[in-house]
């Protein structure tokens, strides 16, 4: 699918005096079919909203968007990236939901020196040992989201944890990051399992094992359909009455929490965004998103929104100089719906707040998120990243 979006303004031209004007082209590389299609659509919606909010005063510069579907297949993603760079001659690419696609693209964008503004994929390595000056991540790293939960839980008196996550790279990175910070803070991982990715629908056997492990709580990473199945089954087995559930925030994402029902009540998770964050940026974002799409904006939409804003701000800061634009992408700082954001020059990963929140399910089934704690400006260690 190819949609072209034009945002330009003549009005501002008289006010500023750019050295020159440039026509920017940005490729949105996202899954629009396949299992992650809903994520791709949310990110696109957020991105477009950012262009609407912030792209009105671009001066003589123009911004054109080209959308391409990655289908969640790394070879397809790479082929589309090549098309965007070599044929459409885009100045930057944004998007990328799955880490597999990101891994496939890494060398290509690095070699062609095409800035890639990652709006979801969280593979630690891409802002760690395999980092690149051209890969700028405004979403999160898998470790970043989960690390703060370790010390926080220990502080709340949770000493023993059983872990569960799907058996693929992201699942393992999330659990490893949590386990490390949790044990360093004095906690103990009493057991855990990695469940076959997208092949596990029945979590009964794992939940039964977790319940019998003697842990104080369960820490999990599940997203999408797996999250719904997991949380519901957690409730069905009555484990919610004796063993609290913790995890990374996708578990109780507003997208799915409605389908999870009562069982989601009291689940405590950490994430880089929650719709209930209170600041004017978030209020505006949620209000306008709701007006346009008739539903609350998800954590994916906000990543698209911030990616879009980052690109627009970089354009504004560059005065029509495309070389400066590439450099400015990683220098943009702003306070958005997620709070203050900046790009860590050591890794090009985002530095952002991580919110620890509790999901509340009311009697009538409506859900809300109560932020219990905010861990400010979480920054990843370089993890072997050397920019060059």
């Amino acid at each position: 699918m190819r949609k072209t979006f034009m945002a330009s303004a003549v009005l501002a031209a008289a006010l500023t005096l750019p050295a020159q004007a440039a026509d920017y082209k940005v490729g949105l590389l996202l899954p629009y079919s396949g299992v992650y299609a809903s994520l791709g659509n949310d990110i696109t919606a957020g991105f477009n909203l950012a262009v609407e909010h912030f792209g009105k005063d671009l001066g003589d510069d123009t911004l054109t968007l080209v959308q391409e579907d990655t289908e969640v297949k790394p070879p397809v993603g790479l082929a589309k990236a090549r098309k965007l760079v070599l044929q459409d001659k885009v100045d930057a690419i944004s998007g990328i939901v799955s880490s597999g696609v990101l891994a496939a693209l890494r060398d290509f964008v690095h070699q062609t020196e095409t800035p890639l503004v990652v709006a979801n994929a969280g593979n630690d390595q891409m802002t760690g040992e395999r980092c690149s000056p051209y890969i700028i991540r405004v979403s999160f790293s898998n470790g970043q989201v989960n690390r703060p939960m370790g010390p926080w839980l220990v502080e709340k008196g949770v000493k023993k944890i059983y872990t569960l996550a799907p058996d693929y790279a992201a699942g393992r990175q999330m659990i490893e990051a949590f386990s490390k910070s949790f044990t360093e803070a004095g906690g103990e991982i009493v057991g855990g399992q990695f469940t076959p990715f997208r092949k596990t629908k029945d979590f009964g056997p794992y939940l039964t094992a977790a319940a019998a492990s003697g842990a104080d709580g369960i820490f999990v990473f599940y997203a999408g359909g797996e999250a719904i199945g997991f949380v519901k089954q957690y409730g069905e087995f009555g484990i919610n009455e004796k063993m609290p559930l913790y995890g990374s925030g996708w578990l109780t994402s507003p997208l799915y929490v409605g389908a999870e029902g009562k069982a989601a009540d009291g689940v405590i998770t950490s994430l880089n965004y929650s719709p209930s964050i209170e600041n004017p940026e978030n209020e505006r974002f949620q209000k306008d998103y709701m007006a346009a799409h008739d539903r609350a904006a998800s954590e994916y939409a906000v990543q698209g929104y911030d990616a879009g804003r980052l690109i627009v701000e970089a354009i504004k800061a560059s005065g029509g100089d495309k070389a400066a634009f590439k450099k400015n992408l990683s220098k943009v700082k702003f306070s958005g719906p997620r709070g203050p954001l900046e790009i860590d020059p050591a890794t090009n990963n985002i530095v952002q707040n991580i919110y620890i929140y509790e999901t509340k399910v009311a009697e009538d089934g409506s859900t809300s998120q109560e932020i219990l704690d905010t861990v400010e400006a979480v920054r990843d260690a370089p993890n072997g990243c050397q920019m060059n």
């Binding site: 699918m1 190819r2 629009y32 079919s33 299609a37 579907d69 297949k73 790394p74 070879p75 790479l78 082929a79 090549r82 098309k83 070599l86 044929q87 880490s99 597999g100 891994a103 496939a104 890494r106 060398d107 290509f108 593979n123 395999r130 058996d167 693929y168 790279a169 992201a170 393992r172 076959p196 990715f197």
Partner: protein, 338 residues
């Protein structure tokens, strides 16, 4: 029996020339699509060899694609084998896996064979997906391409790479065309037509099935080594059983048991997919409809229908030339294939 008829050779030559022209004339994305077509063509024609001519309808063909890709990656990136040698060596495990699969499934037929190959493919898929040494779900990036700068060829030039892939596909086509006209090819078709009779005539059936499976696996693996270099990346997604299914669709839409038909099918499906995805994300739907229509229309596929049409025309012409009543039955290349 397979004959490289004039029509087949003409279509093959036409596609080859079109491929070479496209390699130099098409836009960058056009070159991407060209390589994608060529890779699917390799998979489809080798599957046609196995399924169309040999009667072994496999849903595990993509596993060999993956084995070839991963073998190339392990050899170049872990064992330090030079890429060109690695490309050749990577074919060994592909042949071996295909051969073993052929031996093991030699007594399994029809739907059971389909299931057995599906299980084989899924086992390889799950093994790779869960194996962190092989990069697990994320796969392995940074795969090197073969280096032919010594003879003045730069494989990093998209046109040269696309051209090389088209030439490789053409060569594999010629090799399979030759194999199908060899004693082995004749025997394979005989096995498909009547396995019991072949056994009764004294043939040790399983060795031939193993060989056919090994050869098809080798060609699919060869495609895998190219795919790994093309994207400079391998991932378990290469081996998903739906990839095998898509290749089977290409074989059918192009024309089963024609060898060139599946190449036509690969080009058709890949182009159709890209055209449709220009205006909708729901290209699966349209491919599904096309497939069903093609099957209800007789299942000959695009090239198969062309061949049948030409055969009908020439038959009518020769009937007109001969006196009525003196016509002898024609040798029908499509016979028993409808």
């Amino acid at each position: 029996m397979y004959y490289p008829s004039k029509l087949r050779s003409a279509v093959a030559a036409l596609l080859f020339v079109a491929g070479i022209v496209a390699a130099f004339q098409a836009g960058y994305f056009g070159k991407e699509i060209l390589v994608e077509i060529a890779l699917y063509a390799l998979l489809a024609l080798s599957l046609d060899f196995l399924a169309g001519f040999g009667g072994m309808v496999s849903l595990g063909h993509a596993a060999f694609y993956g084995i070839g890709g991963y073998a190339y990656v392990i050899m170049t990136m872990e064992a330090g084998v030079p890429p060109l040698a690695a490309m050749a060596l990577a074919l060994v495990p592909c042949f071996a896996a295909g051969w073993l699969l052929g031996i093991v499934t030699s007594k399994v037929r029809g739907i059971f064979y389909i299931m057995a190959t599906l299980a084989f493919g899924q086992m390889i898929y799950v093994f790779t997906f869960q194996n962190r040494m092989l990069g697990g779900s994320d796969g392995v990036a940074g795969v090197p391409r073969i280096d032919l700068t010594a003879i003045g060829i730069d494989m990093n030039d998209p046109s040269i790479f696309a051209c090389a892939v088209v030439v490789a596909t053409g060569l594999v086509y010629l090799v399979f065309s030759r194999i199908l006209t060899s004693s082995f090819g004749r025997t394979l078709v005989g096995l498909h037509r009547n396995e019991n009779r072949m056994r009764a005539l004294g043939l040790s059936v399983r060795w031939y099935k193993a060989m056919a499976s090994g050869l098809a696996g080798t060609a699919a693996g060869f495609a895998g080594t190219i795919a790994a270099q093309h994207t400079m990346f391998v991932s378990p997604g290469m081996m998903d059983w739906t990839t095998s299914g898509e290749v089977l669709i290409m074989v059918i839409l192009g024309g089963l048991e024609t060898l060139i038909g599946p190449v036509v099918g690969a080009a058709f499906v890949v182009l159709l997919k890209h055209e449709i995805s220009e205006f909708t994300n729901h290209w699966h739907f349209f491919i599904g409809v096309f497939l069903i229509v093609a099957i209800l229309a007789g299942g000959r596929g695009l090239y198969g229908s062309l061949e049948a049409g030409v055969a009908r025309l020439t038959r009518r012409k020769s009937e007109r030339e001969q006196e009525p009543g003196k016509t002898t039955a024609q040798k029908n290349p499509e016979a028993g294939n409808a």
